[in-house]
Symmetry: C2
Subunit: 142 residues, 2 copies
Amino acid sequence: MISQTAEYALRAVVYLAMNPNSAFTTKQIAIATRVPPAYLSKVMQLLVKANIVRSQRGCGGGFCLVNEPVEICTLDVVNAVDPIQRIEHCPLGIESHGTVLCALHRKIDDATAILQRSFAETSIQDILSTPTKSIPLLESLK
Amino acid sequence: MISQTAEYALRAVVYLAMNPNSAFTTKQIAIATRVPPAYLSKVMQLLVKANIVRSQRGCGGGFCLVNEPVEICTLDVVNAVDPIQRIEHCPLGIESHGTVLCALHRKIDDATAILQRSFAETSIQDILSTPTKSIPLLESLK
């Protein structure tokens, strides 16, 4: 239920988090995350704008994380590229509803809130620390 | 976090549920739900295909619900037009991951599952029965 763009952003941030103290070019990240480079380039610019990633120029330059993985919540990454939209006013523009949502839009917004909370509660470090046979972005060891 | 298309489908089904024993043309539903008629027409065809709505021909014809609102869950309506996609295999195609998702995709899929459950547990009748000042699709009484 998150967009392709949001998923690509999470892959990129997870990759940078897995490789601290290094900077990577868009091409390197694109190969590791299996994201089309041109698409990834736009995603990286949005992550820079949101101050999640910074770009180092020059030899050995590239992208790296601004903060530690424990300080980056997955919601920040999603919201940097394709924000989760809550419903604050009647989407039909029914004047008398205003900010008092009807049951249909209350339902949709409540479901959105659950999703939002779920990402807010999970940091990039949580993703790295979860024990699993499948390591993000990497073939499993035989 | 559901698509515009899914929201439009829910509006249309809620409208038909609010007006039982009647059939409505696309134009009538479009006006009531404030959805562009051409867009709504495609949505209605998908709802017919999913057997949520049926089309009556002839004089007094139009769309009506196949089943009672209590028997229609909101997830069915969403899935009829823009299915909620669970992650069953590694989206990167990493062979050794297969169906064992890494922590990143496990997280995304778990969040999707929560959203899916939330819509599965709510029927169209639940929407109609929720006490609220704002009645779906209608201006509130003064």
